[in-house]
Amino acid sequence: MSAESWTRRQWLNRLSLMAAAAGLPTPVVNAVSAEVETMHATWVASNVAAIEVPGYGRDPNLVQPIAEPWPRTLTPDQLALVEVLSDILIPADESSPAASEVGVPAVVDHWLSAPYPLQHRHRLVVLAGLDWLQEQSMVRFKKKFAQSDASQKLEIVDEIAFEWPPQDHPLYQPTVFFDLLRRLVAGAYYSSPAGLQALGYQGNVPIAGDYPGPTKAALEHLNQQMDKLGLSL
């Protein structure tokens, strides 16, 4: 994020804080807590340029794939935030590990840094969303999201993880962001070996010898249906 947009963001947030403190544009005058509950950081769209590196090209070499076809672009701070959010989305439980334990943040970074139009659109949403989280935490708790404690993080996430607000609501874009991140994190997690195991995914299983045909139960069912139609196998 450039210094220019930081300045704009800070300016906007300062303005909204001042306005709220003065009670000017809002009918809520009595309770500070009511003001805090309705205060939202401003969503500032990301304007990062599209990544221009060759990538895989149109016909990737699948026999000898390129190990790092494009550089990853998330900053250490952004990556740390993605890691925190990944583990909120997919924590460890009795049967499978947390997202960060199977490398999900690196996959999300890899995805967002790819030089293609879809990934560029995703990158714009995620970068703006990460900034928004930091600022929303500033507005609420006077510290950045990364520095807030676990319950404060969840308080912010709860507002963008469940309900879809109307499109003109200040939480609409943050909700779009969190929904996208949920898809990316879940996609990365459930394509990892640990995630596939959690799904019970088997994939194609070779059958040695002759094909055994359908199960007896399936064959009986089929025969019954054929009988009803007056047909036979």
Partner: protein, 176 residues
């Protein structure tokens, strides 16, 4: 990258839902035959010419009640199949007119110079030989009398082989 369908929330309950729903999505696509109709035809454009000054062709297109009824029936049946399986239909109700693809969108275009037994209703005979010009043959998908949707390539090649064989015999006999 992602997961099928939409979800909400986060944490252990999200994990459980994804793992429970994985592999439980079923999608059905409807395919059907298009019958020829009088509103779908090509003709020579009265105004537009190509770079050599030759008039271009112009296509007219309209679905008929046959196709729209097929789509309406298919939508109803697909819905019944999923409900009978105990599934929930995620797609909102759609009219046949809204659900049907645009003409040409599935890119299995055949017909236009169809074969037939009557020169007033067809362009070629059963051998791909045009009624109007004795030594002009159509050896591609143009001779299809209707479009059964899937998949025209093998039929097209078979017709070309069969008609080429007939053409070769006619040339040997000296009848052409």
């Amino acid at each position: 990258m992602g997961i099928r369908g939409s979800d909400s929330g986060y944490g252990r309950s999200l994990k459980q839902r994804i793992q429970q729903k994985y592999g439980a999505g079923v999608g059905l696509a409807l395919r059907g035959e298009m019958l020829p109709n009088a509103n779908s035809y090509m003709e020579i454009d009265e105004r537009v010419k190509d770079q050599w000054g030759i008039p271009v062709v112009k296509f007219h297109w309209r679905w008929s009640a046959h196709e729209l009824n097929q789509v309406a029936h298919g939508l109803k049946t697909a819905r019944q199949i999923i409900e009978t399986m105990g599934g929930q239909v995620g797609m909102p109700d759609q009219s046949a007119e809204a659900a049907i693809k645009k003409g040409g969108e599935i890119i299995h275009e055949v017909g236009t110079t169809r074969m037939g037994i009557d020169h007033r209703e067809s362009v070629t005979n059963q051998w791909g030989q045009t009624w109007d010009v004795e030594n002009l043959f159509v050896m591609d998908g143009g001779v299809f009398a209707s479009n059964p949707h899937k998949n025209c390539t093998l039929t097209l090649m078979t017709l070309a082989m069969r008609n080429a064989d007939w053409l070769a015999r006619a040339m040997h006999r000296g009848t052409l």
